[in-house]
C-alpha cells in the first residue's frame, strides 16, 4: 500500500475535526482556517514585524496610562535572547497557552483596578448618562484608551467589537462599569496590544518602495528612548505626518532624549545588552558562598545599572571609561561582599574603589563576576565568552560535540588555569578557548561570587593573560585593553541599532554601521547622544519585506500599474 501524503493529511484533518466537533461545538476548527488570508489590505499597508511586548514595556505602559498605583502581579512569559539581544528575540516570540492565561488574569485585575470606584473618575473621558447603558460614552472610552494601548487609532470594527462586549456585560450585570471593564480587558489581551505590530505603507515619494507608517515609527522611537508606549505628543506627530519629515523627526528626537524618561530607556537597553536578566534566577551553593542571597543578586544588578546611568547619562561620559572607572555605588549587602565598610545612612551611597584596589571598571563588579560563574566556582571560560559576546559582539560557537576529553585529568588540586591549559592542547578546543579564556583568567582574583582572593587550593593565582599576542595582567590590564579596543564602541553602536530595529544587522548594513561607529568616535564616544544619532539615519526606519509577502506586494504593484 502506498502512503500518499495528501490523503494522509485528509485523514488526519477529518479525524481532528471529528474530535473537535465532539468536544466543543463552539470552538473554531484549528489552524486550517488561517492559511488562506493573504490578500493585501484595502489600504495597501502590510505588516513587516510582530514583536512581543517585553515585561518592562508592558509594565511601563500600564503605569503611564493608568498610574503608578496599579498593581501588576503576574508571571510573564520568558523572553529569549537572539544574536545577543532580547530585543531581537522579541521579534521571534509568540504567546503560549499558559502565557496567555497569565495575561488574561492580569488584564482582568488591571481593569478592575482602573475602573474601580476609586480611580475611574480620573481615567474616564466622559460620564455615563445611565448606570447601565451609554454607548456613546463607552465608545469614547474605548477609542481613547484603545488608541493609547494599540499605539494608533482604532478601526471602526475594533471599536464596535468592544462596545458590543461592554453593552452585553453591562446589561447582564446591570452596571455600566462592569461592562466597560470587560471591554478594557479585551483591549489588554488583544494581539495589537501584546505585540508591537509594525506596519509599512507604499512610500509616496518612491514608487514601488515601502516606508514604515508614522505610528510604527512613533512606537519604535518611544520604546527605544523611554521603554514605554508613545505619549500623546508623539502620537500627534504621527497623526499629522510630521514624523515623516526631517524637521518633525528631529524635534521629537530632541524632546525624547532630553526627557528624564530617557534614563528608563537607557536602563532597559543596558539591561538587555549586558544580559542582566539572569539575576532573578541566579543560584549559588550556600555551602560555598554563605554571603550570597537574592538581595545580593538584586543589588549587584542594580549596582551595574546605577553605574552605567550615572557615568553615561548623568555625567554624559565617554563609554570606554566604563571599563576602567572605579566610581560606583554600593549598598549594605554589597559592602559585605566587597569587604568594605558601609557608613552611609542611605540605602545606596557613592563609592570609589581606591587606586590600589584590584578592581577596575564594570567587569570587576560583583554583578558581572557572579553572573558569569558556576554555582560553586568561578569560570574564566564563561566570563571570557561573555566579555567577547557582550562587549565586542563576538559570539563563541557551540563547543564541538566530539571533543576527546580522555586526556583531561582531574584538577581538584591547583588552580583552574591548569584545567584550561588542557583545552589548549586539544586542537578541537583551542580555536575557541585561546580566545575565550585569557580575559577570564585575568579576572581569576575574583571567585564565583566576585569576592577578592589571591589563592586557590593553596596556590597563588596567576592572572596574566595572552590574547593573540596582546599580553596583560589582571583586571586592570584587561580593563585598559578593552578601553582601547575599537571593537568595543563599534559593538555598542551595533547593539543600539539592533535594539531599536529588533533585527540582527546583516552584511548589507556593515558599511552603515562602520560609518556610525566613526561618528560615535568623532563625537567623543558619548552614549547620551547615540540613540538620537542612530534614529536620525534613514536606515533606522528602513523596511525589509518579510518572507512570504514579496509576491503579495508584487501582485498589488502590478494591479496598481494596470489601473
Amino acid at each position: 500500500m502506498t502512503h500518499h501524503p495528501l490523503r494522509k493529511l485528509q485523514a488526519l484533518s477529518a479525524l481532528s475535526s471529528a474530535v473537535w466537533g465532539l468536544c466543543a461545538a463552539s470552538l473554531l476548527i484549528p489552524l486550517s482556517g488561517f492559511a488562506q488570508d493573504s490578500a493585501v489590505d484595502q489600504d495597501d499597508s502590510i505588516t513587516v514585524a510582530v514583536r512581543r511586548l517585553t515585561e518592562s514595556q508592558y509594565k511601563n505602559t500600564i503605569r503611564d496610562l493608568f498610574g503608578d498605583g496599579i498593581e501588576i502581579n503576574a508571571r510573564f512569559e520568558p523572553e529569549q535572547r537572539e544574536n545577543g539581544l532580547l530585543a531581537i528575540g522579541s521579534a521571534t516570540l509568540s504567546l503560549t497557552s499558559s502565557g496567555f492565561e497569565q495575561y488574561f488574569v492580569l488584564a482582568s485585575s488591571i481593569s478592575d483596578q482602573v475602573l474601580g470606584e476609586e480611580r475611574r473618575a480620573s481615567i474616564m473621558p466622559c460620564e455615563p448618562r445611565s448606570n447601565v447603558s451609554d454607548s456613546a460614552c463607552a465608545t469614547e472610552f474605548i477609542s481613547h484608551i484603545g488608541s493609547q494601548l494599540f499605539r494608533r487609532p482604532l478601526s471602526d470594527a475594533e471599536i464596535a467589537a468592544r462596545v458590543q462586549t461592554a453593552e452585553l456585560g453591562a446589561s447582564q450585570a446591570e452596571d455600566f462599569y462592569a461592562g466597560l471593564k470587560l471591554a478594557l480587558t479585551s483591549l489588554l489581551v488583544a494581539p495589537e496590544f501584546l505585540f508591537r505590530i509594525e506596519q509599512a505603507e507604499p512610500d509616496p515619494e518612491v514608487a514601488g518602495r515601502y516606508r514604515l507608517d508614522a505610528y510604527s515609527k512613533a512606537s519604535r522611537l518611544s520604546f527605544m528612548f523611554w521603554d514605554t508606549t508613545p505619549d500623546a505628543e508623539l502620537l500627534a506627530a504621527a497623526g499629522d505626518g510630521s514624523l515623516h519629515g526631517n524637521a518633525g523627526l528631529s524635534a521629537q528626537l530632541e524632546r525624547l532624549s532630553r526627557s528624564p524618561r530617557m534614563e528608563a530607556g537607557a536602563r532597559a537597553f543596558f539591561e538587555d545588552m549586558m544580559q542582566l536578566d539572569g539575576f532573578g534566577n541566579m543560584v549559588k551553593d550556600p555551602a560555598i558562598y554563605p554571603k550570597f542571597n537574592q538581595l545580593v543578586a538584586d543589588s549587584a544588578k542594580e549596582q551595574m545599572l546605577k553605574t552605567v546611568i550615572d557615568q553615561l547619562i548623568v555625567d554624559q561620559g565617554d563609554y570606554r571609561d566604563l571599563f576602567t572607572s572605579n566610581e560606583t555605588f554600593i549598598n549594605r549587602p554589597l559592602a559585605s561582599v566587597y569587604q568594605v565598610p558601609y557608613i552611609s545612612g542611605e540605602e545606596w551611597a557613592e563609592y570609589e574603589f581606591p587606586e590600589d584596589s584590584d578592581r577596575a571598571g564594570i567587569l570587576t563588579q560583583v554583578g558581572f563576576l557572579s553572573l558569569w560563574a558556576h554555582p560553586g566556582t568561578s569560570s574564566p571560560t564563561r566570563r571570557g565568552i561573555k566579555i567577547h559576546e557582550i562587549f565586542m559582539c563576538e559570539p563563541t560557537p557551540d563547543p564541538p560535540a566530539d571533543v576527546d576529553f580522555s586526556q583531561v585529568t582531574d584538577s581538584e588540586a591547583g588552580t583552574v588555569r591548569g584545567r584550561l591549559l588542557d583545552h589548549m592542547e586539544n586542537t578541537g578546543c583551542t580555536v575557541c578557548h585561546q580566545r575565550s579564556d585569557p580575559p577570564g583568567l585575568a579576572l581569576e582574583h575574583f571567585d564565583g561570587l566576585g569576592q577578592l582572593r589571591k589563592m586557590e587550593n593553596g596556590q597563588l593565582i596567576d592572572v596574566s593573560a595572552d590574547l593573540f599576542g596582546k599580553t596583560f595582567v589582571g583586571a586592570k590590564g584587561l580593563a585598559e585593553y578593552l578601553h582601547d579596543d575599537p571593537r568595543a564602541p563599534s559593538c555598542l553602536v551595533r547593539n543600539v541599532y539592533a535594539y531599536g530595529v529588533a533585527k540582527a544587522p546583516g552584511y548589507q548594513e556593515r558599511e552603515y554601521l562602520q560609518q556610525q561607529a566613526q561618528v560615535f568616535a568623532d563625537t567623543g564616544y558619548r552614549f547620551a547622544s547615540l540613540f538620537k544619532q542612530i534614529a536620525m539615519t534613514p536606515e533606522f526606519f528602513a523596511v525589509q519585506l518579510p518572507e512570504g509577502l514579496e509576491s503579495a506586494v508584487a501582485s498589488s504593484d502590478s494591479a496598481a500599474q494596470q489601473d
Binding site: 502512503h3 576527546d404 519585506l545
Partner: protein, 451 residues
C-alpha cells in the same frame, strides 16, 4: 458537550479519510478493550506526559554501560543506575540503543538529542526546533476536555525556566517553576471541586468569554498581509486564545465526580538551590501536586523537566556541577567507568523514581493512576562525557490504560529515537501514523510493547 471521546466517531473519522496510512498497531489500539473503568462504569481516560532529565546515563569508553540491562524482553534486571526504578520496574519499559540521526547537521551539544526525540528532526541551531514537539500533538488529541490542555512544570531551579514543549519551534512553553505556583494554578482561583455537591455555574465566566470573542473577531483583519514567520506567531497566539476559550467553556460544565481526587494542602516555599537533593525534593512535591491535578481531571497532558540539558545540578557543597564532572572526570582504571558521574546519574534517576512512585501512589479504578498514564522519559544525550547522541536512555512508564505491555527491555542499537516517540504517541491515543523527517522518519512503532 461530552468529556469523553467516542471511539466509534474516532474510527469513522479515520475510515472516512483513508485507513491505508494508519498502521495496524494504531487500529489495534483503538479497538482493544483492556482499559479499566471508574466505579460507575465510565472508562478512565489515558493521561500522557513527558519527563526530561539532563546528561543521560553513563556508558564506558570500552562500550560498557552502567544502565543498560543484559536481559532483553520482559523481566529485565535492575542495573546500578536504574536502582531508583526498582519499585515500579514492572510498569516501566526500558529502551536502549536508540539514537538521534542528524543527517549531516552538526551534533549541537545538549540539544540535538532531545530536539530529535521531540520534533523528529535534528535542528540546525541551538535554542530552536524545526517543528512542533510531539507532546503538542498528543495534547491536541487528549487535552481538549479538561481545564488545562497541558501543564508544563520545571523542577530544576535553574537560571531560566526550562521547557522543551513548543508549537512553533521557537516559542517554548512557560512552565510553573515552584510547587506553590503549580498549586495555585491547579487548585487556586478557577478550580472546581469535582466531588462537590453544590456545584453552580459561575455567570462571570460567560462574560469573560465575551472578552475573547472581541479579540477573535479581529483575527482576519490581523492576518491580512503578514509574512510567513509572523503568521506562524499569530496563529500560535490564536491557538492560545482558543485554549483559554476551551478552559472557560469547561468551567461552565458540572465536573464529573472523581473518587481519587483529594484536594492537597498548599506546599511550602522551596529553597532556591539547584543541588540534586533540592531538585529531587522539588520533583517529589510537584509530582504529588501533578498527580492530584490528573486525578481531579484538571489536565490530561503534562511536560515535566527535572534538570535541563546542560544540567547545572550538583551535590551540595561540591564546587563542580554535574555537567562539568561528566566531561572532566577521568574513567577510573579499575572500575572502568566514571564513578562520580555514575553516582550523580543514580541520584538524578532518584528524581524519576520519586516522580513515578508519586503517580503510582494514587489509587484509581482497580489500579493506580500510573496504570492509566503513559509517561515518556528521556534525556539529551547518551554518554555525556563525549556528547553522544547514540544510546540515549528512554523509558515508557505506565500502563496507558492497558495498552502498554510494560516491564520490558527493548534493545535496538542504531534505531531512530523517533520510533519510541511514535510508540509513545500511539500508546497515548494520539492519531499519528508517522513521525520524523529524513533518516528519522518512521511509521514503525515498537510493537513489542503494544498490547
Amino acid at each position: 458537550m461530552s468529556s469523553r471521546f467516542n471511539r466509534r466517531s474516532l474510527l469513522r473519522g479515520m475510515i472516512g479519510g483513508a485507513t491505508v496510512s494508519m498502521g495496524i498497531p494504531l487500529l489495534d489500539l483503538f479497538l482493544n478493550e483492556n482499559g479499566t473503568a471508574f466505579a460507575d462504569g465510565a472508562p478512565i481516560p489515558t493521561r500522557f506526559g513527558t519527563y526530561f532529565w539532563g546528561l543521560g546515563l553513563t556508558d564506558t569508553p570500552t562500550g560498557g554501560t552502567r544502565w543498560v540491562p543484559e536481559t532483553v524482553g520482559p523481566g529485565y534486571e535492575i542495573t546500578p543506575e536504574l536502582q531508583a526504578l526498582a519499585a515500579v520496574k514492572d510498569k516501566v519499559s526500558v529502551f536502549s540503543g536508540f539514537r538521534a540521526i542528524p543527517d549531516g547537521r552538526p551534533n549541537l551539544v545538549h540539544w540535538s538529542g532531545h530536539a530529535s526525540i521531540l520534533s523528529g528532526v535534528a535542528p540546525s541551531s541551538t535554542g530552536r526546533f524545526e517543528g512542533a514537539s510531539f507532546d503538542t500533538r498528543v495534547a491536541d488529541a487528549l487535552g481538549g476536555t479538561t481545564r488545562f490542555k497541558v501543564l508544563d512544570i520545571d523542577a530544576s531551579v535553574s537560571r531560566r525556566p526550562i521547557s522543551y514543549s513548543t508549537r512553533s519551534g521557537s516559542t517554548f512553553a512557560s512552565p510553573d517553576v515552584t510547587p506553590l505556583d503549580l498549586y495555585q494554578r491547579l487548585f487556586g482561583e478557577g478550580f472546581q471541586d469535582p466531588n462537590s455537591d453544590d456545584w453552580q455555574p459561575n455567570p462571570d465566566i460567560m462574560l469573560r468569554q465575551s472578552v475573547l470573542s472581541a479579540v477573535t473577531d479581529q483575527r482576519k483583519a490581523l492576518m491580512d498581509s503578514v509574512g510567513h514567520e509572523d503568521q506562524i506567531k499569530l496563529e500560535q497566539y490564536f491557538t492560545s486564545v482558543r485554549d483559554m476559550e476551551n478552559q472557560l467553556a469547561i468551567q461552565l460544565q458540572k465536573p464529573e465526580p472523581r473518587e481519587a481526587c483529594v484536594i492537597p494542602t498548599p506546599p511550602n516555599e522551596i529553597e532556591r538551590a539547584a543541588s540534586v537533593d533540592v531538585v529531587n525534593a522539588n520533583t517529589k512535591v510537584m509530582a504529588r501536586l501533578l498527580a492530584m491535578g490528573l486525578a481531579c481531571n484538571q489536565t490530561r497532558v503534562f511536560n515535566f523537566v527535572h534538570t535541563g540539558g546542560t544540567s547545572e545540578t550538583y551535590i551540595a557543597g561540591n564546587s563542580k556541577i554535574y555537567h562539568q564532572i561528566t566531561h572532566d572526570e577521568p574513567t577510573d582504571a579499575q572500575l572502568g567507568f566514571q564513578p562520580e558521574t555514575s553516582k550523580l546519574a543514580g541520584l538524578v534517576m532518584e528524581g524519576l523514581g520519586a516522580f513515578l512512585n508519586e503517580i503510582d501512589g494514587v489509587k484509581e479504578g482497580d489500579g493506580t493512576l500510573l496504570d492509566n498514564c503513559l509517561i515518556c522519559a528521556f534525556s539529551d544525550t547518551g554518554y555525556a562525557k563525549i556528547h553522544s547522541i547514540e544510546n540515549i536512555p528512554m523509558f515508557l512508564a505506565g500502563g496507558a490504560g492497558g495498552r502498554h505491555k510494560a516491564g520490558q527491555h527493548i534493545h535496538a542499537p542504531g534505531e531512530s529515537v523517533t520510533r519510541v516517540s511514535l510508540t509513545a504517541m500511539q500508546l497515548a491515543g494520539a492519531p499519528v501514523g508517522e513521525f520524523g523527517d529524513g533518516s528519522m522518519r518512521t511509521s514503525r512503532p515498537v510493537s513489542e510493547v503494544m498490547a
